[in-house]
């Protein structure tokens, strides 16, 4: 049971799980049952923030960091000489409940190294979820990692108890996956995804017919891609994400900037720092796919296979399509409003409501949270005098939007003062 010795296990097994980036606990709404503990709230709650700035919502932990596989990018690969340990399913269930009752966490996110074989491992993970739901009457959030290669039956069991299942693809192309993870192939990851997706659809259909039909992974499935461990382009990555969203109905694709945990392995690039900026741009692009009605090939394509690291992908898109601007804030339809740089979904809602009352001007927009510094080149509204992207030309607008970062060293400021771009502004 839980005691002082658990401290060391926790240190190892939380440390081993920390590279999995997904933290979301949202997506399920479940009320507590009578006499039970816990609920899942649809909007998700962060209970703390780690010093790396990431939200801590779940007890993210590995059941064990022993592994029979040898994936090049993973700290837990079998050829690494590191301290290894395992929790029992009972210990994990206990720890979850004790943390949950103190309001430390929103729920459990459990993964594991592969012990003996995929089925053996998956079975132990399912046991944890089952213990929580039945013995502890726990109604909080559970996310289980599906072990690549686990049997269909075990994945079906997992989905019965969990709110979300995920299988990590990690490496975006089959070839590169084979090179870096010789024990895995695309089939071993994509197959469980397909099983999960079919089960989810089936359960939804059943529940339309009779409401008592069992839920299956009600909060859907997600996956993670490692960025920068291979030469795959953002175009390849976003095409894959977009296919996963539309064909497999994934809730989230997470992007994780590669951290060189095994720098001795020559199959991997030597990086000094994780590619955090690229990761950030990919998340922005991912938002455009999911909430802004963009298609992957509008953001990146064969001519522009990688995202511009200097600028928001929406700005880059707008600069490539100056003929669509300026947009009239007081008339444009919602989908076009969403495509204006500097305007987010929340501002679009406010604009749609407020323009029924008055013709909006730039000070209204500012108050509604529109980033006018960015938006002013792409809109017209009452009393706005600045020049738009058509009049100024995209290259110049690009320079202007980069301006802020360029200022910083005195040399740069000096130069900027005599730059024709500044003159164009006057």
């Amino acid at each position: 049971m839980i005691s002082e010795t658990s401290l060391e296990k926790l240190e190892i097994l939380a440390g081993a799980a920390k590279y999995d980036v997904s933290c979301a606990s949202s997506g399920t709404q479940r009320s507590n049952t009578k006499g039970g503990i816990g609920n899942a709230s649809a909007w998700g709650i962060c209970h703390s923030f780690a010093e790396d700035g990431r939200c801590i919502s779940l007890l993210k932990i590995m059941l064990s960091n022993f592994c029979i596989y040898d994936c090049a990018y993973c700290i837990n690969r079998k050829s690494n000489d590191i301290p290894r340990t395992s929790f029992t399913p009972e210990e994990i269930a206990n720890l979850t409940i004790e943390f949950y009752r103190r309001n430390y966490i929103e729920g459990l996110f459990l993964s594991s190294g592969v012990l003996r074989n995929p089925d053996y491992t998956m079975e132990r993970m399912v046991t944890v979820a089952k213990l929580l739901r039945t013995e502890h009457k726990y109604n909080g959030y559970i996310h289980l990692k599906a072990i690549p290669g686990a049997s269909e039956q075990l994945i079906a069991d997992a989905g019965r108890w969990a709110d979300r299942l995920s299988v990590n693809i990690e490496i975006p192309t089959e070839n590169n996956l084979k090179i870096l993870a010789p024990d895995k192939d695309f089939k071993s990851v994509l197959e469980p995804m397909k099983i999960i997706s079919n089960n989810i659809t089936e359960s939804k259909e059943e529940r339309k017919k009779h409401r008592g039909a069992p839920l299956f992974s009600p909060s859907g499935q997600s996956t993670q891609l490692i960025i920068g461990a291979t030469n795959d382009t953002d175009h390849t990555i976003l095409k894959l994400s977009s296919a996963l969203y539309s064909k497999r109905d994934l809730k989230r694709v997470y992007y994780s900037g590669y951290i060189p945990v095994n720098s001795y392995d020559s199959r991997l690039p030597a990086l000094n720092t994780p590619p955090l900026r690229r990761e950030h741009r990919l998340y922005q692009a991912d938002w455009l796919l999911r909430f802004y009605g963009f298609k992957a090939n509008e953001i990146v394509n064969a001519e522009n296979p990688n995202l511009d690291l200097e600028l928001d992908p929406k700005v880059t898109w707008a600069l490539r399509n100056p003929h669509l601007f300026p947009v009239d804030i007081n008339k444009a339809d919602p989908l076009m409003l969403l495509r204006i740089p500097g305007i987010g979904t929340h501002s679009v809602q406010l604009i749609l409501l407020a323009r029924k009352h008055t013709r909006l001007n730039s000070s209204h927009l500012q108050k509604m949270g529109v980033l006018m510094k960015r938006a002013r080149f792409f809109i017209t509204c009452n009393e706005l005098r600045s020049q738009n992207v058509q009049e100024l030309k995209p290259e110049i607008v690009r320079q202007l939007l980069l301006e802020k970062k360029a200022i910083g060293t005195d040399g740069a400021v000096q130069l900027k003062l005599f730059n024709p771009v500044m003159l164009a502004l006057r």
């Binding site: 839980i2 005691s3 002082e4 658990s6 401290l7 926790l10 240190e11 939380a14 440390g15 799980a17 920390k18 590279y19 009320s31 507590n32 006499g35 039970g36 503990i37 816990g38 609920n39 709230s41 909007w43 709650i45 962060c46 209970h47 703390s48 923030f49 780690a50 010093e51 790396d52 700035g53 990431r54 939200c55 801590i56 007890l59 993210k60 932990i61 720890l95 004790e98 943390f99 009752r101 103190r102 309001n103 430390y104 009457k137 909080g140 951290i259 720092t273 994780p274 955090l276 406010l350 409501l353 407020a354 029924k356 009352h357 008055t358 909006l360 209204h364 108050k367 509604m368």
Partner: protein
């Protein structure tokens, strides 16, 4: 100068609105609570809270805008800042005096200011939902204390009541010296005079804590440190998302040595 005083309750403030309309003059300043200093050279009108009058104002708001808007006014009231009552009064006047629904008229400065504050209050309540830390007591009940900047505990209670339905708990606002107690059936408001709590960290006296409480705080702290990726440390974002004012009540931020 026209000064109104009320008893710092929401019903009291709605009554004040009612009285202002009836007397056809509106306050230049609103004093809340008993402790507030009367303004020099001004006569103060003390408003008696009257539930029926308050209800009429509530219904008026619903009629001129929406039920959700009336709830929003309540939440803004809970901001509990010196100038909140005046903002609420101005907002209600705008709503009631117009024959259109003004709640979405973001070209009105009052509407913008009101909604900004509303967002802040909701954000604080959401944070409290996450950052509350229960300590298990010897009797097996759970205790948490906090000092939210706005008076948001009433907004958090339904969430805790649903989530922790099978455990007795108390959540206490140290700043305002009151809290809520759930006894497995009902939630009631409580005030303690002799609370054995260390104001520095919100911790109960150790004689009141369950045997394994310290262990779980340690485990949580261990977890918190193990989950951080050193290569990605980002102090600025960290402090933005977890403002320092919360730290002293969080076991993971270190009042226990490992």
């Amino acid at each position: 100068m026209n000064v109104f005083a009320y008893d710092n309750t929401f019903e009291g403030l709605l009554t004040l609105v009612f009285e202002s309309y009836q007397r056809k003059h509106f306050p230049d300043e609103i004093l809340s609570g008993e402790g507030s200093q009367p303004v020099l050279f001004a006569s103060t009108n003390t408003i008696e809270t009257d539930e029926r009058k308050a209800e009429r104002v509530w219904n008026g708001i619903v009629k001129h805008s929406s039920e959700e808007n009336a709830h929003r006014i309540y939440r803004v009231f809970l901001a509990d800042m010196p100038d909140t009552p005046m903002l609420v009064l101005k907002y209600i006047r705008l709503i009631i005096d117009s024959n259109k629904n003004e709640e979405t008229n973001f070209s009105e400065p009052v509407v913008v200011e009101f909604n900004k504050l509303h967002q802040k209050v909701c954000k604080e309540a959401h944070r409290i939902n996450g950052f509350v830390r229960f300590q298990k007591t010897v009797e097996g009940s759970y205790y948490a204390s906090f000092a939210p900047i706005y008076d948001v505990l009433p907004l958090c209670i339904p969430h805790f009541r649903d989530r922790f339905a099978d455990q007795q708990w108390i959540i206490y606002d140290l700043k305002r010296n009151y809290g809520f107690w759930y006894d497995l059936k009902n939630v009631s408001r409580v005030v303690f005079d002799d609370l054995k709590v260390n104001p520095q960290n919100g911790q109960l006296h150790s004689s009141l804590l369950a045997d394994d409480e310290k262990l779980f705080q340690q485990l949580w702290r261990q977890y918190y440190h193990s989950i951080c990726i050193q290569e990605r440390k980002n102090d600025k974002v960290h402090r933005q998302l977890l403002p320092q004012r919360f730290w002293k009540y969080l076991p993971e931020k270190g009042f226990l040595s490992l």
